[in-house]
Symmetry: C2
Subunit: 80 residues, 2 copies
């Protein structure tokens, strides 16, 4: 089973990396950029075939390792 996890900074948390990318895009001539936020992305391949239990397991992985839940949110998408 495959799953995609997206980890993003919570609203209000400063994102200097995103700001730097925003500045770089603007200096490259992309004027239509209002803001950029950078996050992380994980593609997991899992044994097992139950989407609900896979999602619960991945939530535990996020809490323990993949995300810093003090400043980050995560979204899990099990794609089967």
């Amino acid at each position: 089973m495959k799953a995609r996890v997206t980890v993003t900074l919570k609203n209000g948390v400063l994102d200097p990396q995103g700001k730097a990318i925003e500045g770089a895009l603007k200096s490259l001539g992309f004027g239509g950029v209002d803001s950029v936020r950078q996050g992380k992305f994980f593609e997991l391949e899992l044994t097992g075939s139950d989407p609900a239990s896979a999602k619960a397991e991945i939530a535990k992985m996020c809490d323990k390792l993949l995300a810093n839940t003090v400043i980050e949110n995560y979204a899990i998408e099990v794609t089967g």
Copy 2:
């Protein structure tokens, strides 16, 4: 207008960071993990209101800055 960009390594490109996360998850007791691939994620806020032209503009940004198209693929999702 908002857009989400996911940048992932192409198939066949080694992903040592993903391998390290896979090992860490296994040593934390998550036995059901077959493989992990790490990617990047960007949330962009754009001026303008035409999804098609926004997507074309973001593709240019990916080619120029956000992705290394020699080893990475990107996916663009305009969320309106």
